[in-house]
Assembly symmetry: C2
Homo-oligomer: 220 residues x 2
């Protein structure tokens, strides 16, 4: 007896439901940076341990994450690179279409690009600039995430330590700052600070998430 199409869609919809919760998306974005144990994920997402655990199991049932035991910790990670593409595409579609999304993005971007409206750099522009050695690339994420993998040639400049690194940065060529992805505020903070100090700076807005989703290599 043939399987009804509806049965297949019902199974497929499990995946959609797994993506249908803001906390789970936050967990996934954190996992997009690097694998992590439950406690860290809970802390980063503002969830109780028990609640985070349940959300993670929900994600696991949907096949989006896998878990392995390491000592007494349970380390979760994204199942594979396609999950990244899924997240990126979801964000892309949302940004173009959801009115509310645009409103929020507007608020997010309003305060740093004010005055001098510098377009964020696209991945393609960045790749070309890097090939030509034309820019200094700054990874402004926390050091742990930098160490788990960063764009080739990037310096780590966690936002908290950026101020003390200023003297090491060039004033005669463009600086490009990036962080996790579109929703990560670090690169905005960094760009504002650097601009105030007279550096030429732009943001690679899409960040490491899009870079990986495009299948480009990272280094450790």
């Amino acid at each position: 007896m043939p399987v009804s199409r509806q049965e297949l869609f019902d199974v497929l919809s499990q995946l959609g439901r797994a993506l249908g919760n803001g906390h789970r998306l936050a967990l996934l974005e954190h996992l997009a940076q690097k694998e992590a144990p439950v406690e860290e994920l809970a802390g980063a997402s503002g969830l109780s341990i028990a609640n985070a655990s349940q959300h993670l199991q929900h994600l696991r049932r949907a096949g989006l994450v896998t878990a392995r035991r390491d000592g007494r910790q349970m380390v979760y990670r994204l199942t594979d690179e396609r999950i990244l593409r899924l997240l990126t595409l979801l964000q892309e579609v949302a940004e173009t279409h959801l009115a509310e999304m645009e409103r929020l993005m507007g608020r997010l971007f309003a305060d740093d690009d004010a005055g001098e409206t510098l377009e964020p750099m696209t991945r393609v522009e960045l790749q070309r600039a890097l090939e030509q050695g034309a820019v200094t690339l700054l990874d402004v994420r926390p050091n742990a995430e930098y160490q788990a993998g960063h764009l080739p040639g990037a310096l780590n400049a966690p936002i908290a330590e950026l101020e003390s690194m200023l003297s090491a940065l060039p004033r005669d060529r463009e600086i490009v700052a990036y962080c996790r992805g579109v929703y990560c505020a670090f690169s905005h903070d960094a760009a504002r600070l650097l601009r105030e100090r007279g550096f030429q700076v732009r943001r690679y807005q899409a960040g490491i998430l899009e870079w990986r989703a495009a299948g480009l290599p990272l280094v450790d």
Copy 2:
């Protein structure tokens, strides 16, 4: 005041929730073929008119579909091509990871590839074969969907009329049948029939959905 990341994820999760229902996915897949009024969509998905309408409005709020009034009908369509990519990617991830999905797919494929296990043809294989003029391509979807756009060079052979078209088909070269996408059973039915009658036949399993998602052209 900066927008919290969580606010953004909450908005984004609306999109996920919209994809988190089997009936809505069925509606989307139908819309992936061609735009359609509520009544048709309801019929095709086995939903009451009122229920279909509500699901469609859910999809509209999420920005996945748009609607326009045509006379007394309300015609829905996918917002843009990226929605297709989203659906395809969702299916891809699901097929690889959801155990239950694999089980169902197994059942679906069990009865036609039995005995002679012919691998479905990939898009790349199909493209090469078409360039060389090496195959006859059959679109086995209903004629209305064929007319809304089909692969270049494809003949329309709706499954109901396939039998009466057999004499026009070549026996000395391979036939490739395709329909909507992975979940569409027409190409299985067609392949089984043709194989029984002694034709050389394979299926382009991913179907028109993947073709469009890859940005390749259709003709009317």
